[in-house]
Symmetry: C2
Subunit: 224 residues, 2 copies
């Protein structure tokens, strides 16, 4: 399933050498991610980005046409990293009855690792021009789609109860968002739960329904 050849290539540049473009844009993204996380998109200036990237403001504008371009590069890079992370993590998951619990655990760990980045997307997507906001939202759906596929397969093999495709889809959204919740409520949650406790409890909540195995196992961990 997929080589995500980052949409970023659509952004025009004055520079002829494609390798150079890729290298410099990576510098721009790395510098910007840091700055945006610290100060937010609007409070970061293009000069600060150029400086942190290691070249002049003039050069910066050879590689992008606007500050919004930079935000798009950043969002796109984050999604690419998320997707790689998730697919790498999911490749470790075995088939079988506990597959979904493992999927959740792996995915939530990726969310934990990329907390600042996910938060950035939640906060700054709105600042993108319409055309690119749309692309970023599509990325979000693509991520959710990975879970739809897994849930559907598990339902097919009987490892999950039969459910309508709409229930499957909504469940996939819930898993995505409850992973994100750890990032945007972290200032609260992390004071009360470790990431592993959080995963354990949420797994119970999410699987509770699907297994339909009664209310007996509430205080028990599933694994770990």
């Amino acid at each position: 399933m997929s080589h995500h050849s980052s949409n970023a290539k659509e952004i025009p540049t004055q520079i002829k050498n494609p390798d150079l473009v890729e290298r410099r844009r990576r510098q721009i993204v790395d510098a910007s991610v840091q700055l945006f996380i610290e100060k937010g998109f609007h409070k970061t200036t293009t000069r600060q980005i150029a400086k942190a990237a290691g070249f002049s403001i003039g050069s910066l504008y050879e590689y992008v046409a606007s500050k919004e371009d930079i935000l798009y590069l950043v969002c796109d890079a984050i999604h690419e990293e998320m997707e790689l992370g998730v697919e790498e993590a999911l490749s470790r998951v075995n088939e079988g009855r506990d597959a979904l619990a493992e999927v959740i655990r792996e995915y939530f760990h990726v969310c934990h690792r990329m907390a600042d980045h996910i938060l950035l997307i939640y906060q700054e997507t709105q600042s993108l021009p319409e055309q690119w906001r749309k692309k970023v939202l599509e990325n979000e759906i693509r991520m959710t789609g990975i879970f739809v596929g897994i849930l559907a397969r598990l339902a097919g093999t009987g490892d999950l109860p039969q459910m309508s495709s709409r229930s499957v889809e909504l469940m996939a959204h819930n898993i995505s968002v409850l992973g994100h919740m750890w990032t945007f409520r972290r200032w609260f949650l992390a004071r009360h739960y470790s990431i592993d406790e959080y995963i354990r409890l949420q797994t119970e909540v999410i699987l509770g329904q699907m297994r339909g195995n009664g209310a007996g196992r509430f205080e028990e961990a599933d694994e770990e």
Copy 2:
């Protein structure tokens, strides 16, 4: 449970007449909410706010000390409206076995009604000065606390299975956030589900575990 005498009063002003302050600030908030939803906080100028509120930029700065003050007034007003909405809605909920389903339905309808406002909070909280961001996040926890109280009570009367206080707390967070999810994934969800379908399916998901009544009722609505 509470008169939320909006924290807003802490913001200093040059104007002596408190009624006037309240009235003018309401004008400021009403104008700003509209503008922020349309263009975002950073792309809205103080002049536009003053104009939309119906007075001059000079007067505006008699009622607030900075643009951030305005954002805080806006966030605070939104939380106040949310809390009023939720408490009003919950006052219609009866005790008993279906209480939680009703709570969810009422709460999600409030989220639906206030979708733009909730989204605004997600996007712009970060732009607040530390001190006020903290207050806004506390508001968020207070809202969640309402659900903690309800769940705990239902667990006490036996209308929910016994569960640890941590599970109750996390469940409350999930309900809050899955209501918000309708607002920040609305561009996708609303294309595939009506708000009532969304509520029905999510209710099944959330209650599925707690009732522990097996996987039989999947395709059945609970009410409506």
